[in-house]
């Protein structure tokens, strides 16, 4: 990896260089009832609209690679047959300006199952491969447990990663395009002092982590405690609303619906993101539901993220961003659920 440093005021210049492309970044969306700012990712048209000091967005950036609703294909119907048209719904590259490490890692995890496994999903791949990502370091929030998940720093999956060193940015460069961009800025080689400052960052962050998830032997413990009464207790609280999956940066499951236009000449096939907490998730035709209780569905969600995905890809399908817990209407958080299953209450 190549490292550079540049003065903070150069960042606006970096934005201007990239402004010929569509730029997505964190923006301020108002305040919640406790007067805390609410952030979201959206297309930005002005550098000053970027809220680069954002804490955490309510929603993850996944909608730019996995839209909540997406047309998979359309059909032209004739009296004796039909023709299928497939459109991947991606036309232009997208610049992501200021993505935190957890969200970069979330995309890396999605890559494992959606792009690097059998039957790669082209709708995802097309969008993912056309992302130019500028990462930005962050300050852990109370709900963050990314360090427990090993996702507090991004090792790959970005073009440029910026760390705030006070009056300058420390830049990690991972692509030729990013290198070329930085060459157009007033950049310097990092000095010995910059090295020291950069090395101190993880230690400074450590003090801010309050939420912790113990992951040792978690796959085995989840199997061992499959019948644990803890699941029923959490299931009792769970409203089966699917909000957790909605805000999760790594939840990717979906359902497919088909419809016919009123003119009977066209039909379409639409994919909508789903949630394993919704009651019909595993219901089959004829009415049998493989997971009829909210407890069984909540358990499945943890089982998939912290056991099954680990078994398949050697890492959990969770980046510890804590969005699910923050958004949950019943105050169910992964650190609390996992601690109770481990008997650590």
């Amino acid at each position: 990896m190549i490292f550079k440093v540049f003065k903070k005021q150069e960042l606006a210049r970096l934005y201007d260089l990239l402004a010929v492309n569509i730029i997505v970044g964190p923006v301020n969306r108002g305040e919640d009832r406790n007067a805390r700012p609410l952030y979201d990712f959206d297309v930005v048209y002005d550098f000053n609209d970027l809220a680069l000091d954002y804490t955490q967005t309510v929603h993850s950036p996944k909608r730019f690679v996995l839209p909540y609703q997406e047309t998979l294909s359309s059909f032209a119907l004739t009296h004796d047959g039909w023709e299928k048209h497939v459109d991947l719904n991606v036309y232009k590259p997208l610049v992501f300006f200021g993505m935190h490490a957890c969200d970069i890692n979330a995309l890396n995890k999605l890559d494992l199952v959606l792009a690097q496994s059998a039957y790669p999903n082209p709708y995802y791949m097309g969008k993912r491969k056309n992302l130019f990502i500028i990462g930005l370091d962050c300050n852990p929030e109370p709900q963050c447990f990314c360090r427990s998940m090993g996702t507090d720093s991004a090792v790959h999956g970005f073009d440029l990663f910026l760390t705030d060193l006070g009056n300058k940015y420390f830049a990690e460069i991972r692509s030729a395009t990013a290198f070329d961009l930085l060459n157009q800025l007033n950049c310097k080689e990092p000095s010995a002092k910059d090295h020291t400052l950069y090395k101190q960052m993880p230690g400074k962050k450590s003090k801010r982590y309050t939420a912790v998830v113990e992951t040792s032997d978690l796959t085995k413990i989840l199997d061992l405690e499959f019948e644990s009464p803890s699941w029923d207790e959490w299931g009792e609280k769970c409203l089966s609303c699917g909000t957790c999956a909605n805000v999760c940066p790594t939840c990717y499951c979906y359902g497919v619906d088909e419809h016919i236009d009123l003119d009977l000449k066209h039909a379409g096939k639409t994919k909508s993101l789903h949630s394993c907490n919704l009651v019909d998730f595993a219901k089959v035709a004829g009415g049998h539901n493989f997971r009829p209780t909210s407890a069984s569905r909540l358990k499945y969600r943890y089982y998939h993220k912290h056991r099954g995905f680990v078994e398949a890809f050697e890492e959990p399908l969770c980046v510890g961003c804590g969005r699910c817990g923050a958004a949950c209407l019943a105050d169910i958080t992964p650190p609390a659920v996992i601690a109770s299953v481990r008997g650590e209450e």
Partner: protein, 300 residues
């Protein structure tokens, strides 16, 4: 415009083919036609589906136990086990019960309807490994549907297998599937045992649970030999009892195969709807050996 990022077309260099790694094949369906429809019972019909293009048809190869996704534009897409013999390639037979939105629509279509087929997907029964061994096929209700493909394959190569037993149970005589083929099957030197839960006045066969048929088979003079393979398919409660009996009779877990049913929206390990724990029924199944099933929570 130096900093305008180049657009990367992921489909550019990969023409649509049917390779697993090809992103162009994800939404690709083979154009096919329903050539004939035979009613089997009041709710089940046997659909003969032919892939229209002759090259695609002969190039379509599957193994018994695998499934296809059948699509009707604007109506839906759903997974179905292939019931026909693998030697017939793209001339498929699917036995479908009218039970949901999609299958009730299928129930009303006429021969000649154009459909889309994708697949074959999933794992298969290891028929090659089973050669030279005794075979026990145990099906309950609709479970006979995925069993018919391995059965036909065994019958076509009858001399390669030892003793073949089929045990099939249905709720009532009217619900028995493929009745017109029983005599034909028997001609291949197989033991076909059929039982129904509730008999009607005309029924002359046996009445009772499928486990009773199995109990007789296990206690026979020619008991289960070590080289027996079993394929079990039926409702979850049947799996439980049948697999337990077979285990007690000394059949190793890795020689018992089951075919599981789950909701599916993609068939390609992406939608998560068929997950058991985190095992995808569409990729790691639908055919599992009993050892794998025992290791999957809430599988049966």
């Amino acid at each position: 415009m130096r900093n305008k990022l180049a657009f990367l077309d992921i489909l550019e260099k990969t023409p649509a083919s049917r390779r697993k790694e090809d992103p162009g094949s994800f939404e690709y369906t083979l154009p096919a036609e329903i050539t004939s429809i035979y009613p089997l019972t009041a709710t089940e019909k046997l659909y003969q589906i032919q892939i229209i293009d002759p090259i695609q048809r002969s190039g379509f190869s599957f193994q018994p136990g695998q499934f296809v996704m059948l699509e009707l534009p604007g109506i839906g897409e759903a997974p179905f086990s292939i019931s026909s013999s693998p030697v017939r390639h793209g001339d498929l037979e699917l036995c479908i019960r009218a039970v949901g939105n999609f299958t009730n629509f299928l129930d009303r279509v006429a021969p000649g309807t154009k459909v889309g087929i994708s697949g074959p997907f999933g794992t298969n029964f290891p028929l090659e490994k089973m050669q030279g061994n005794d075979i026990l096929l145990i099906g309950g209700g609709l479970g006979i549907v995925p069993l018919r493909s391995p059965l036909l394959s065994v019958l076509e190569n009858r001399s390669r297998y030892g003793r073949v037993d089929i045990m099939y149970g249905a709720k009532s005589p009217e619900e028995l599937l493929f009745t017109y083929q029983y005599e034909e099957w028997r001609r291949f030197d197989i033991n076909l045992g059929i039982t129904v839960d509730r008999a009607d006045k005309k029924w002359q066969g046996r009445t009772g649970l499928i486990t009773e048929l199995l109990k007789e088979r296990i206690s026979q003079a020619v008991s289960l030999r070590e080289n027996t393979y079993a394929i079990v398919c039926g409702p979850p409660v049947m799996f439980h009892f049948v697999c337990k009996m077979l285990t007690e009779a000394g059949l190793p877990m890795q020689k018992m195969f089951v075919s599981l049913e789950r909701r599916m929206h993609c068939g390609r390990g992406k939608c998560c709807r068929c997950n058991i724990g985190s095992t995808y029924t569409c990729l790691d199944g639908p055919v599992f050996d009993y050892w794998s099933v025992m290791n999957l929570k809430e599988a049966i």
